[in-house]
């Protein structure tokens, strides 16, 4: 298993956070975590990305404990809902800074700029870019060190139809390259042809974990709209 998650928990209050949760993730899976706001989706992803510390439990990436952050970050790329880039600086500066800190050759920056159609914007300041373009830079940055696992928190939040389709196309392409992807979404219908596995969280508890076919046949899907 590429990811082993055991009793991972973070409780803000009775209904917010994540109750002790365990699951495994195999290499090459594309997992959609669905649920309402406050269900614990982002909390789960942020714990996997070391953004927040869990109250308990353990996470192992390829057998390496998450507590060993500097070793794990090379294996994981996290793309938060709101792009977090140095706004004052250009796209190229941002990518080169993170490449240098990750000890990634600058050749990889050129590859990312090409791959994500960012060449025309390489000298543009991030603050001048649209949200869709910022998200593309954000995804590109996460891929600099070629991580085997990608975590995307609400990757299509605030994007128009065209950009949402583009983001899903990118995710599909990355999955095609053999990457393991876990992302969160409010809209299961949108990702039923994308995900290979769906997990449903409700009030911090994992209440469904299965294939998209099983999910859309299950009561859980119906309940999601009733809650």
């Amino acid at each position: 298993m590429q990811l082993e998650i055991r009793n991972l928990a973070k409780l803000y209050d009775e209904k917010r956070g994540l109750a002790p949760t365990s699951f495994d993730v195999g290499k090459g899976e594309l997992i959609a975590i669905v649920g309402h706001n406050g269900a614990g989706k982002s909390t789960l992803l942020k714990m996997l990305a070391s953004w927040i510390l869990p109250d308990g439990g353990s996470v192992k990436f390829d057998g390496i404990d998450l507590k060993n952050r500097t070793a794990v970050v090379r294996k994981v790329g996290f793309i938060p809902e709101v792009p977090n880039l140095f706004d004052f600086f250009s796209v190229e500066y941002n990518l080169k800074l993170f490449a240098a800190l990750s000890q990634t050759p600058f050749q990889r920056v050129e590859e990312i700029l090409n791959e994500f159609n960012l060449i025309p914007f390489r000298k543009s300041k991030v603050q001048a870019l649209s949200k869709g373009l910022k998200q593309r830079v954000n995804i590109g940055r996460a891929l600099l060190s070629n991580p085997s696992v990608l975590l995307l928190d609400e990757p299509t939040s605030g994007l128009d139809f065209e950009m949402t389709r583009e983001t899903y196309r990118l995710m599909s392409a990355m999955h095609g390259d053999g990457k393991t992807i876990i992302f969160t979404s409010h809209r299961p219908e949108e990702i039923k042809n994308l995900a290979t596995r769906i997990m449903l969280l409700h009030e911090g508890k994992l209440i469904f974990d299965g294939s998209p076919e099983e999910y859309f046949r299950s009561e859980s899907h119906e309940k999601l709209y009733a809650w």
Binding site: A49, T70, F86, D87, F88, L101
Partner: protein, 341 residues
Amino acid sequence: MRNILLLAFNDLAIALKNKTFILILFIPLFVFVSLNLIDRTDAGANIVKIGLMQGYAYAPEITRSISAAEKIIAVTWIQNENEGMQLLKDRKIDGILTGNEAAPGSLALLVLKKESLHTIAIVQSFSALQKAAEGRGPDWITGIISLHQGDIQRQTLPTWILMLVLLIGFIILPAQVAEEKEKKLLLALLQTPIHEVQWLIAKLILGMVLIISAVLLLHLLGNFGPVHLFDYIAFIIAGSFCFSAYGIFLGFLCRNQASARTLGVIFYLPHLLPSAMSDVSQKLTAVAPLLPSYQLYKPLQAILLEDGSMASMSFDWIYLVLLGSLMFYLSYFLMKRRWLM
């Protein structure tokens, strides 16, 4: 080391982009220009400008003596008290000689501030004039030797340095740390294999570079050079380390820039005022040593104004380094806990 330098250069680039550097260089420049306006060294600066009331009957020996002393006293005749007040407020005269209602037949000196250098100068000039007119010998005290050397620019230098150190430590650095937290930039950096300590050292470098640049500019503009240069540098480094680490810690206590600025001001003023004003108040002199800012201010004052050396100030230096180290550790602890991130 490579990561520390990369992060430090990035921080300095941010400081350039968000005009922090301009602010840091502007303050010494502004201080220098303002002090130059105050501290006049030309011949005219030593002349006492006195106002005499046209309708008042001054004793003839007084007017005669004043007229004879035209090199040290310039007389302006004024129509009435209102005109005199206006001239005083406009700083066109230093004082008015008028009748003393409390002691009829004698004179009173009307000035803007009783406790000022100008007032002392006027009283000294008139005392000398009176003694000369009456043919008396010199005063018991014929000169004043100050422990604090130099003109007003040099005498106020420790205060300006303290102000700059605290401004960078308590206002600029906490805001920058909180901004990186607020925009999740710190978390983005922690998605790379950098260590938390490397990020903290880079922030320390930023604070110390800003402080040292500002202090250096202040010295270059004023052409001040301490006698014990090594001791002075040692204190500037210890002070910039201590208050940069303190500022980083304050930044970690805040979720966003706005709260960091508020907290910064809450720390800035109580650290600045008691130390900087400790010379003019016995109560503040008693309170100030309780503040870390005083452990920087006092040695700077001693080195710059009294030619003091570090030998008698090792406690202050160790205090600053230990406090800085404690703040650095607390920042590291909060960073590891992802405090308010």
